[in-house]
Amino acid sequence: MKIVAVTACPTGIAHTYMAAEQLEKTAKKLGHSIKVETQGAMGIENKLTESEINSAAVAILAVDIAIEEPERFDHIRKIKVPVQAAMKNPEAIFTGI
């Protein structure tokens, strides 16, 4: 399954990137293809393109703050979870898809 994801925590220096890594690892393990955009203290990195979002089946938003450009995900199914959930138990998120 094609998946896109965004991670963002309040400080944006550690948890944002750890959550992104966990999502990528877990997706690989479960045989999904995923691209994770991080919105940390450096701003948007690894930005998702419009076509990537449109071709994805679902968007995982592992965020504790309001994200930049949320309207990009208006037309796609979203799963919203706290950043902690993506770090500690990423598999549960994927089984919920």
């Binding site: 550690a14 504790d64 309001a66 500690k88």
Partner: protein
């Protein structure tokens, strides 16, 4: 109801996330210039550091840091409203926050509605903009809404409201300062213990940030003890866990010993997140131990009269700390408490031989 609170927490964290670099920039520049003044004996009649006698460059640094602090309530309120209402939230948020930062005279003290006022007005600004967005308008009128109507009709009520709230909230801030200054003995220790536990609990997550932000905001109100207690607690989880891997090598795997060294490094520069690799694998043993260690550190710092002028923790802020000896004592005690606690918990719960146990 629960969902609404969750959402509001997210709005507040959006503001906090944008304002942290401002506090760091302002706090460190001001602290550095104060440290310079103190070190080279540019002091006033009371023996305190006096920036105005310093060389121009140092004065400029203090001024630049001061400007970062001046922006603090505006940026906080602006981005709370932004998190809530998007771009149109910025105008009333920033203006409301700027008004919240205006100096007020309460009794014989200078104060401002500061961060508390900014939190409140940021949320109100977001709500007002969201209401205005919902107004039914004819299509030809739509383009005027975001650039003229919403900015004006949100900024005016938000501004008026904040002007009215400035004095009452400033009084609350002064009152809070009084309470904190007069905390002694038991209640002071209790506050320090709560802060320490919060700092360690989620290692840089939202609960940690709540305690940290309280300390940072108190710096703005010239109360440095809260941040002092936080600063000591911030670094002991990674320092303590790193120390544990050094003290009792056989209790830890090769991989953990490596992350132990990384954790020591992160502890020195005050990054609580360094403890996460340990806690992620073994939360029920690790988290109570690091909370215990941080509580010891914050309590010693608080009782020892440690003050921190920079919104950051760990040994790295030592130059800008008041009560340096007690600060070091607090960190060392907290780190050893964490290390000994986790090693002995592991000893009782893991099958280890007597020989391995003897090392710790």
């Amino acid at each position: 109801m629960k969902e609404m609170l969750q959402k509001h927490k997210q709005y507040l964290l959006t503001g906090v996330s944008h304002v942290i670099p401002f506090i760091a920039c302002g706090g460190i520049l001001i602290a550095a210039s104060l440290a310079y003044a103190f070190h080279f004996h540019y002091v006033n009649a009371h023996g305190g550091p006096d920036i105005s006698q310093c060389p121009p460059f140092v004065q400029d640094l203090a001024l630049i840091g001061g400007k970062a602090f001046e922006l603090f309530p505006a940026v906080l309120a602006g981005f709370i409203a932004y998190g809530m209402a998007g771009k149109p939230g910025l105008v009333p948020g920033f203006i409301g926050g700027l008004i919240a930062g205006m100096p007020q005279v309460v009794g014989d003290k200078n104060a401002s509605a500061g961060f508390l006022g900014a939190l409140v007005i940021g949320l109100i600004a977001g709500h007002i903009v969201n209401l205005l967005k919902k107004l039914p308008v004819p299509k030809f009128f739509k383009p005027v809404m975001p650039i003229i109507i919403i900015p004006i009709f949100s900024a005016v009520p938000v501004g008026l409201l904040m002007l009215a709230l400035d004095m009452p909230i400033a009084k609350i801030m002064v009152g809070m300062g009084h309470v904190l200054e007069n905390l002694q003995g038991g209640s002071q220790i209790l506050l320090a213990m709560i802060l320490g536990a919060m700092i360690a609990f989620d290692m840089g997550g939202p609960i940690n940030k709540a305690a940290f932000f309280f300390g940072a905001a108190m710096i703005d109100q010239h109360n440095y003890a809260i941040m002092g207690a936080c600063a000591a607690a911030i670094c002991t989880p990674p320092l303590g866990l790193g120390l544990a891997t050094v003290l009792s090598r056989k209790r830890w795997t090769e991989e953990q010993r490596e992350s132990g060294l990384a954790a020591l490094g992160m502890g020195l520069i005050g990054i609580t997140e360094g403890a996460i690799p340990f806690a992620a694998g073994d939360p029920f043993r690790v988290i109570p131990c690091i909370m215990f260690g941080s509580m010891v550190a914050s309590t010693i710092a608080m009782v020892g009269g440690v003050g921190d002028h920079a919104p950051h923790g760990g040994p790295i802020v030592l130059p800008v700390v008041d009560g340096r000896i007690m600060y070091v004592v607090a960190i060392v005690a907290g780190a050893f408490t964490t290390a000994l606690a986790i090693n002995s918990v592991k000893k009782f719960t893991e099958k280890t031989s007597h020989l391995e146990g003897a090392k710790s």
